[in-house]
């Protein structure tokens, strides 16, 4: 099952883009990850090359035999070039830590095992030996949990996990110990930002033990009104409790966002329509755009689609632009590195092309 990531399915790990999950105009995707370590090996920061090599060998053997990962693919991240690594990051399939920071040599013996189905994967030799992850489209915490829990059982039967009767699953960072579970939901909240309610909502979120981050996880900025909301604590509550709690709060935020959107439409229809169509116009006609600009404009268009002001663009098309208008994806399409200016020009051309196709598709329908 070994192959180079880029030789395979061009949409690998991107099933969530289909936007067919519940509330998918507001909740883009749901992700659950479990941090696990192998007993008798030093954790990430203390592990030497021998430890890492052995952890990788044992994990790949276990993954090969695990039913959930059958017919999947192994990607040896340390052998990929910069663009390929960046591409995995742009798909949210690996962490920055796994691929090594910009200008840094990638850590050795790192791998990604990706199941063929939706978004189930295993990162090997990150901060923890294993990071089991599942990304699904829309607001589907329980679905995401069911599949990653099954994979956890399958892997745990094949490699011995570090588990402590009191502290639970042992992790490199004490913020992850216990369940090792981080559940996050990626939300688009332009209504709350425009009505100035967002600060209150985010404060409320942190008061109930949840946390928020930007699009690319810890330390990243909030771009395009996209917020990732996740549980903060991992020890002392069951996985189901953590998930149910997040489920309830996110459900509330979805309601607040929906209310905020109706308030906007009622009190400031002209401003909203203008904002939405200006965003669409720029994406549809600009000749050079940075990715950040694309994200901010997509937010406007997505709001327009959600409010049914724009009817010929599908949410899944906007999701596709979000991923494929990123630099490594553009370079992959161009089959080589591109200078900064060229990238912005190609990005604009790509977005124009996708939207033009969508318009003509809608016209033909």
């Amino acid at each position: 099952m070994k192959e180079r990531f880029l030789d395979g399915d061009p949409d690998a790990g991107l099933a969530w883009l289909r936007a067919d999950g519940p509330n998918s105009d507001i909740v883009l995707s749901t992700r659950i990850r479990l941090a696990r370590n192998l007993r008798n090996f030093r954790f990430g920061t203390r592990a030497d090359a021998d430890d890492r090599g052995e952890v990788l060998r044992l994990t790949l053997a276990a993954a090969d035999a695990a039913p959930s990962l059958q017919s999947g693919r192994n990607v040896t991240v340390s052998t990929l070039d910069d663009t390929e690594r960046q591409l995995l990051l742009e798909r949210h399939l690996v962490s920055r830590e796994l691929i090594g920071g910009e200008g840094h040599v990638a850590p050795t013996h790192t791998a990604l095992v990706l199941a063929p189905g939706e978004g189930l994967s295993v990162m090997v030799n990150e901060e923890d030996h294993l990071r089991l992850q599942n990304i699904v489209g829309g607001f589907r915490l329980r679905d995401a949990w069911r599949d990653v829990e099954r994979l956890d059982d399958e892997m745990g039967q094949r490699v011995p996990y570090a588990f402590h009767p009191e502290f639970g699953y042992l992790t490199s960072c004490p913020t992850n110990v216990g369940t090792g579970l981080r559940a996050s939901v990626l939300m688009h909240l332009p209504g709350l930002v425009l009505t100035q309610e967002i600060a209150k909502v985010l404060q409320g979120i942190s008061q109930v033990g949840l946390t928020f981050r930007g699009l690319y996880g810890e330390g990243s900025d909030v771009v395009g009104n996209f917020f990732q909301i996740s549980n903060q604590t991992t020890l002392g509550k069951t996985e189901e409790d953590l998930i149910d709690h997040l489920q309830r709060i996110v459900q509330q935020v979805v309601q607040y966002e929906t209310q905020a959107r109706s308030v906007l439409l009622r009190d400031a229809p002209t401003v909203i329509e203008d904002k939405v169509w200006r965003a669409y116009g720029l994406l549809r006609h600009a000749r050079s755009t940075s990715f950040e600009e694309v994200m901010n404009l997509l937010s406007g268009v997505r709001l327009g689609v959600g409010l049914k002001l724009i009817e010929n663009v599908r949410v899944q098309t906007l999701n596709r632009i979000m991923i494929f208008a990123q630099s490594a994806h553009l370079e992959r399409a161009a089959r080589g590195r591109l200078p900064e200016g060229d990238l912005d020009v190609r990005r604009a051309a790509f977005v124009r092309g996708v939207l033009a196709a969508e318009e003509s598709g809608a016209a033909n329908a």
């Binding site: 954790f43 203390r46 009191e166 490199s172 913020t175 903060q232 020890l235 401003v271």
Partner: protein, 169 residues
């Protein structure tokens, strides 16, 4: 562009707001945005960890006299941990038990794991019992919340485990 709040730092966050049918965009630096609760960077999960590490510093000061302070398996010292915030191996959790306990309580509100119980490939009777207890607890909760799909899955797992079979896969 400079932050319109403090006028000193470069604006990093551009916030569009609507009031009385008028749209305005505010340009703020990260510090001001964070003060207003609008930034993701500082308010994220790094904050409790920073507290945690600071607390760890105090723990080191008070405990170096009473603990060996070095993990025999991976060589990690409390000072290393203070620097990186990462533990080195499973053994560290026992070696630094005293220091960790208070800090885990501060981070998570408790120290007792109540989630899924790991069942290794060749479980001992204790492993098996612990897992059964946790599965039965889950079954009770699933029934209470009328999540019958999950309840059925848990019941099957309990039956397989009682019959001495592997849990899954």
């Amino acid at each position: 562009m400079l932050c319109e709040n403090c006028g000193k730092n470069e604006a990093a966050i551009h916030l569009t707001q609507i009031q009385n049918n008028e749209m305005t965009t505010r340009h703020l630096c990260e510090v001001c945005a964070e003060t207003m609760g609008l930034s993701s960077g500082g308010a994220g999960p790094s904050a409790p960890l920073a507290d945690f590490i600071a607390q760890m510093g105090k723990a080191i000061a008070s405990e170096t006299a009473t603990t060996a302070g070095t993990c025999p398996s991976c060589g990690l010292t409390l000072a290393d941990f203070k620097k990186t915030g990462r533990l080195g191996c499973a053994r560290c959790y026992s070696v630094f038990d005293t220091s960790l306990r208070g800090l885990l309580r501060k981070l998570h509100g408790g120290t007792q794991h109540s989630g899924k119980v790991y069942l290794p490939k060749d479980p001992t009777e204790t492993d098996r019992t612990a897992r059964l207890v946790s599965l039965r607890r889950g079954l009770g909760r699933a029934v209470d919340s009328e999540d019958f799909e999950r309840a059925a899955a848990l019941r099957d797992q309990i039956r397989r485990l009682e019959a001495g079979q592997e849990v899954q896969g």
